[in-house]
Amino acid sequence: MTAHLPVLQVVIPLLAATLCAVARRGRIAWGIALATSWTAFWIAIQLLARVQAEGPISYALGGWAAPVGIEYRIDLVSAFVLVIVTAIGAVVTPYALKSVEREIDTTQIPLFYAAFLLCLTGLLGIAVTGDVFNVFVFLEISSLSAYSLIALGQDRRALTAAFQYLIMGSIGATFIVIGIGMMYVMTGTLNMADLSVLLAELGPNRTIAVAFGFLTVGISLKLALFPLHLWLPNAYTYAPSAVTAFIASTATKVAVYMLLRFFFTVFGVVFSFNVMRLNIVLLVLALLAIFSMSLVAIFQTNVKRMLAYSSGSDRVHDPRDQLGVGNGTHRGDSAPF
């Protein structure tokens, strides 16, 4: 049983989401969501403890070994992300009961919890998987459910905010697929560990540089990295409160994790920072973002919107932390979190 914890982390919320979707009453769906989010939290803690004791866990999905099959790989960073995401899910769910009943139509509540759990599934999937195409699939699971969750807001502007997010998010996702495709053309593998070895052997190369560009822009769209953040303030402002609380504190953080995963594990520090000079780009953008977003936040009258802009300025602190990593140590990997 404990050997299968990495996959259960993802499968349990996925199956619970379908249960929620067929539940007749909102309270039953809420009960399922509550049990699931706390179970997921428990599994995440177990995994973190195991990673700390024994080092990275590798799980071959369906018994197919790593380069051929899909590998779930959990190291300290991803275990940490799992704990954060599931902890926020577990904290938000009990509070969501009242908030959701007030803000969302009764007949839609079971579907709300289904979408909520699907979003959780996608976010956890991004953190556990060691396969780049699998990352894309989980990213789309979490994004599509996030779009529908945001559209459930009471204000009609929630609809346009969700639509805007859908357009920008899909552009980002398509960029990511193009980047992954180019890496596959050059190396013939989708496994992250395998990719990092093969890409290092390949050396700097124009196709890989283009793939790197597509991936960076694509993921930056997803994580609303300044100046690609335009969808974020509206989406956070008009979404139901429980959704804002959950998505604002998890979705973009998981995207940051994804960015770090690609920069550090797949492409490697040398390529990302010495060859592509990404640290300079990120430094300038981060500084611009901190000042402009904070200034905009000061002049907002809506509290949720103010927080959205403030989170816009906070998040781009992350790349700055990351610079510390780019300049030297590997240990700082978890600093942005």
Binding site: Y147, S148, R156, L159, F163, L166, T174, V177
Partner: protein
């Protein structure tokens, strides 16, 4: 000759750019979705082209050693097609909801309606908003 051999990739870039341009330039939400779908679909050509081997068959285990196309990109694209369809369906249903509440699918008009509403809120003091929340 080499340029002709890459015709699939040129088609990919052309379709991608056409889709992206429609997406950016059009104010009509339905047209935006058409552009988005074209943009997503163009990537399928990229993946399918890179897996194709000239003269290759389907990868079915037979006697001898036949030349076969790489099935993996094709399978990946099957997943991407599903994602694309789901995105389009969600996008269209959002447009339906937007049309129900705003009675328009033009981005400019929606923007004007929103702005009018915000100005109305500020004009009529905050009393109405407090009532609505209570």
């Amino acid at each position: 000759m080499e340029a002709l051999g890459l015709v699939n990739y040129w088609a990919f870039i052309f379709l991608m750019m056409v889709g992206f341009y429609i997406l950016i330039s059009q104010g009509n939400l339905i047209k935006k979705l058409v552009g988005l779908n074209l943009f997503q679909t163009s990537v399928f050509i990229l993946y399918i082209s890179m897996g194709k081997v000239r003269g290759g068959t389907a990868p079915i285990l037979t006697e001898g050693d036949p030349v076969y196309s790489n099935p993996l990109p094709h399978v990946l694209i099957l997943t991407a097609i599903v994602v694309g369809v789901a995105t389009l369906a969600l996008g269209l249903s959002l447009v339906v909801r937007i049309h129900e509440t705003y009675s328009t699918v033009e981005e400019d008009e929606i923007h004007n309606l929103d702005r009018a509403e915000v100005e109305g809120e500020v004009g009529s003091l905050d009393v109405s908003r407090v009532d609505a929340r209570a």
